[in-house]
């Protein structure tokens, strides 16, 4: 072993919540220096650079951060970060991250995962992680395709999409990932876009400070296998009609001149309305409330798809709730407080020992 020894119990469970250091950091402090091997112009680059920026603002040393991923183009993420990392197996990033965080509450644990990794093979771990409210920051790169394996359909590929595995077009309806997350009562649900660095930064910043499972869907363009996936949302001429930029406490407005809005109609059916037309005023619009204790508005928004509705960008939901790792820790401490901390000799002896002599 090429190093000296440290106390054997470095980093047990049960340290304090978020480690904060007095130092200041630069985005470059979070880079691994390894060559980044994504295709030129892949949307993953933008996320990588925003993540480094966000981390540098938190005052957390790179040594206190761990990135865990599954398998996929996006799951190569940890290799490009100058932090601790595990490039796991396909679909299992969240399960690995859960074990790590339960053993080491002192670390800030992030997960990079793809639409296939997270929603196809990894779907079960996602829903359980969100249900438990594990304190993990989850960045899901949604390019609506399997990039690494060269272009098969993913659970977010759209109906009709031609892919290597669906030469005659996808027939399955895709997941609405944010709706799925809300079906699990996720405490932090947000969406952003690789091509809007400012917005991405804002969403990442928000996720970074959320205590609990923070689920971010990032629309990410795969240049090679699904180049046009988000054209309608990124094209300058179209995007204002197709994007709904969420702001807490603000009415839901969009459109080139923010002239349109969202109103709740009969039967809880949302409608696109134009302010000033048919007597519609701003006060008739739904007002965004990411902190609402009930997830009902967030759920309604999570189902918006263009062209019928503008697609919401930003934080759909951000509420406080105990995290699973904190509860595990608390239960242990409570029991230790009431029963006393057990020592090795009493553990060995058990309750019914007898002496032979």
């Amino acid at each position: 072993m090429n190093s000296t020894a440290v106390p054997v119990n470095a980093g047990p469970a049960g340290k304090s919540d978020t480690p904060v250091r007095a130092t200041t950091y630069k985005p470059g402090d979070y880079a691994s220096g390894h060559d980044v091997r994504w295709c030129p112009w892949c949307g993953d680059y933008a996320v990588l650079s925003q993540v480094k920026k966000t981390l540098s603002t938190l005052g957390i040393s790179p040594d206190q951060i761990v990135f865990v991923s599954g398998i996929g183009c996006s799951s190569r993420f940890p290799y490009y970060m100058g932090v601790y990392g595990i490039h796991g197996i396909h679909g299992r990033a969240l399960a690995i991250a859960t074990g790590l965080k339960l053993a080491r509450r002192d670390l800030s644990v992030w997960v990079a995962t793809g639409d296939g990794d997270c929603l196809s093979i990894g779907g079960n771990h996602l829903i359980h992680t969100l249900r438990r409210n594990m304190d993990l920051k989850i960045i899901m790169f949604n390019n609506r395709i399997y990039g690494l394996t060269k272009g098969q359909a993913s659970p977010t590929s759209v109906v009709g999409q031609i892919t290597a595995s669906t030469p005659y077009g996808v027939i399955e309806p895709p997941f609405a990932p944010l709706a799925l997350a809300l079906g699990c009562q996720a405490t932090f649900v947000a969406r952003s876009l690789d091509l809007n660095p400012k917005h991405l930064e804002m969403v990442l910043d928000r996720a970074a400070v959320h205590q609990g499972a923070a689920f971010i869907e990032v629309y990410q363009t795969c240049r090679i296998f699904n180049d046009a996936a988000f054209e309608q949302l990124t094209d300058r001429a179209l995007r204002d009609e197709n994007l709904l930029m969420l702001e807490h406490g603000k009415p839901l407005r969009f459109g080139k001149n923010r002239e349109k809005g969202i109103r709740l109609g009969a039967n809880l059916q949302p409608e696109v309305v134009v302010i000033g037309e048919n007597g519609v005023a701003e006060k008739d619009l739904l007002v965004h409330d990411e902190k609402a204790p009930n997830p009902n508005l967030a759920y309604i928004l999570s189902q918006f798809h263009y062209p019928q509705f503008p697609e919401p960008m930003g934080v759909l939901r951000a509420v406080e709730a105990p995290t699973y790792d904190a509860l595990v820790d608390k239960q242990i401490k409570d029991i230790q407080a009431s029963k006393g901390e057990g020592d090795l000799a009493s553990l060995l002896r058990g309750t019914d020992a007898w002496e032979v002599d």
């Binding site: 440290v6 470095a10 040594d63 940890p78 079960n124 595990v328 060995l348």
Partner: protein, 616 residues
């Protein structure tokens, strides 16, 4: 309490096997355990085995619903719960039907005659009453109206009907206590504690227990009382321990001894769930238990926790081990320490979930894609589950590798006394987490070929690991052809080197050579050892090699095998170890195989030994 000194004649016996059998609802496991605890306290060596149905509650009185608990207690060493029993308690006809074949000729049968009515006999598929039709002439039958006697005994407490009847297991227990001259006090203490909030129930059970005892003392029917002397156990503190309990203890103790947090990530499955239950109770020892959504998540959580520096482990059984396959491969690639205990049960697939088997050896040794070796240990007895699990953590941490421990349903559910080791007796852990960034390389290796266990949070050591092939020393991703071969060979060599940390194999009996060497592995030890001792007593030229390390194997095996004319490999499967030994030592071996959801009986092994020697 004072029980009158019995007046009847006493006989001394070396070892006795008793089986309590009744309906699933009759509380047989409870009285079996109490009998065991008392016998242990009285200094006997012992081994126990419960046997319960696969359904949570099969229909009352049915053959499928019979639940049994067997205890073998002795003044000499005990290696099995006994092939056959000296005393059978049958609380209903179904219990008699299912268990009679294991009662020795001239053995004592205590039957609750109240249940041998038309309905009970029909449910047990008897066409005539065995207590009356002379079919039990070979046994010492004690047919007693246990239900009625129990009701009378508990009447003063006010308990009636079902509640009163529920005490009949304690009546039977009392009777057996008398038969073997056991002390009632431990059981009375237990009742006091258990039913502290239900004084009527406590009193009723106490009364039933004593009534049974006094019945033995007084009644004319039973003429002799038996004594089983204390065993000559080495001095020390003892506790009774079952295999699953021992695994849980081994994990918790290893972690405490190493100054580590124990992280146990698991998914319930019979017969391994109890490990989770045991550990979940140890929260005051700081144990973190995580019931994952499935076995894949459980295994992955173990990997994450191990990366974080915890002592991480998972327990499961066959179907769960199959699900952990892929993640185990990742653990091998990451070279992180962790322990997986597989409590084997009848397979393949769902198989016989509540029965025992040694069918997962192949899976443990070979069940991963690619070249993916890891150490495999198999404890020999319930208490050895403690030592094997502890040792698994020692090897895992020393060699930075996942380790599989192969327990099974027989060990898991069986119990025996274990000497409680002193803290200082437990081997220490020498775990070093690097802290110095100078020259740190995540895949540099020490003399044991282990890589450093660098923990997140350590300044300057940030590194990334993953399932892609890694560059030797640096751990960077590498697609280099020669490097891949080097790494595959290094991983294999590292596991082979584990042999340097395990003791040489001992042979019981003549180590210099004999006509026959019987090889067992894991839990088959008990029956094979008993059979081997009987065979030696008969003057047969036989030795016994109880294998505990399945991968790597002890280094001296290659010298041992040539000393024996013939080798017989006894295992509860269709010959998995035999094949592995033939592959490694290129020497023909015979198999003694049983795959019936039950452990070997010593008599079966003895017959196998005799047959092998005849053929020789």
């Amino acid at each position: 309490m004072a029980v009158n000194t019995p007046q009847k004649p006493r006989e001394t016996m070396e070892a006795v096997a008793v089986r309590f059998a009744g309906d699933s609802g009759d509380g047989m496991q409870m009285v079996g355990s109490l009998f065991t605890a008392t016998s242990a306290l009285m200094g006997n060596d012992l081994a126990t085995l419960p046997d319960y149905p696969a359904e949570v509650r099969a229909p009352a009185g049915s053959l499928g619903g019979v639940s049994g608990f067997q205890v073998n207690f002795s003044s000499t060493d005990v290696y099995t719960p006994g092939d056959t029993v000296n005393v059978l308690v049958a609380l209903n006809p179904a219990a008699l039907k299912v268990n009679l074949r294991d009662l020795q000729k001239r053995g004592i049968l205590i039957a609750n005659s109240d249940t041998f009515n038309d309905n009970g006999l029909k449910l047990a598929q008897y066409t005539s009453n065995p207590l009356e039709d002379g079919s039990l002439a070979d046994y010492q039958v004690q047919a007693l109206p246990i239900t009625r006697m129990t009701r009378e005994a508990v009447a003063p407490t006010g308990l009636k009907g079902k509640d009163a009847d529920r005490c009949k297991n304690f009546f039977a227990l009392g009777l057996v206590y008398w038969l073997f001259d056991r002390d009632l006090q431990p059981t009375l203490d237990w009742l006091t504690q258990k039913f502290a909030k239900l004084p009527a129930v406590k009193e009723a059970n106490e009364r039933a227990l004593k009534a049974g005892y006094y019945y033995g003392e007084t009644a004319e029917m039973i003429q002799v009382q038996y004594t089983v002397q204390k065993a000559r156990l080495p001095k020390g503190l003892y506790r009774k321990i079952g295999g699953n309990e021992a695994v849980a203890l081994g994990m918790a103790v290893a972690a405490k001894r190493a100054g580590k947090t124990l992280f146990y990530g698991s998914y319930p499955i019979t017969p391994a769930s109890e490990i989770l239950h045991e550990l979940a109770r140890l929260k005051n020892y700081g144990v973190v238990t995580f019931q994952a959504e499935d076995e894949i998540a459980a295994m992955c959580s173990v990997i994450g926790a191990a990366f974080g520096g915890a002592f991480a482990a998972s327990g499961t059984s066959g179907p769960g081990l199959s699900l952990k396959t892929e993640a185990l491969g990742l653990a091998v690639m990451l070279e992180l320490p962790c322990v997986v205990v597989d409590v084997q049960r009848g397979g393949p697939s769902t198989g016989l979930p509540t029965k025992t088997e040694q069918g997962d050896l192949y899976q443990a040794l070979f069940g991963r894609h690619g070249e993916c070796p890891l150490p495999v240990l198999a404890p020999l007895s319930p208490s050895d589950c403690f030592h094997a699990t502890y040792e698994a953590f020692q090897l895992a941490a020393k060699y930075m590798t996942p380790v599989i421990v192969l327990s099974d349903g027989y060990l898991a559910n069986g119990a025996e006394p274990m000497r409680v080791p002193k803290v200082e007796e437990l081997p220490a852990f020498d775990i070093r987490h690097p802290v110095d960034p100078t020259g740190f390389e995540p895949y540099a290796r020490n003399a044991d070929l282990a890589r450093p266990w660098a923990l997140p949070g350590t300044p300057g050591l940030a590194h990334r690991i993953g399932g892609l092939e890694k560059q030797d020393v640096t751990g960077d991703v590498s697609y280099d052809p020669e490097n891949h071969e080097r790494m595959c060979r290094l991983r294999a060599e590292k596991i082979a080197k584990v042999a340097e940390s395990i003791p040489d194999q001992e042979v019981l009996g003549d180590g210099a050579g004999a006509d026959l060497l019987v090889v067992s592995w894991g839990s088959a030890y008990g029956a094979v050892r008993t059979a081997f001792e009987r065979a030696r007593a008969q003057g047969l030229s036989v030795a016994h090699l109880p294998l505990r390390y399945l991968n790597p194997m002890p280094r001296n095996l290659k010298e041992i095998f040539p000393r024996y004319k013939k080798i017989l490999v006894a295992e509860c499967n269709l010959g998995q170890l035999r094949d592995v030994l033939q592959a490694r030592y290129v020497r023909p071996m015979e198999g003694l195989n049983k795959i019936q959801g039950r452990p070997f009986a010593a008599a079966e092994v003895l017959a196998g030994i005799e047959k092998a020697l005849r053929k020789a």
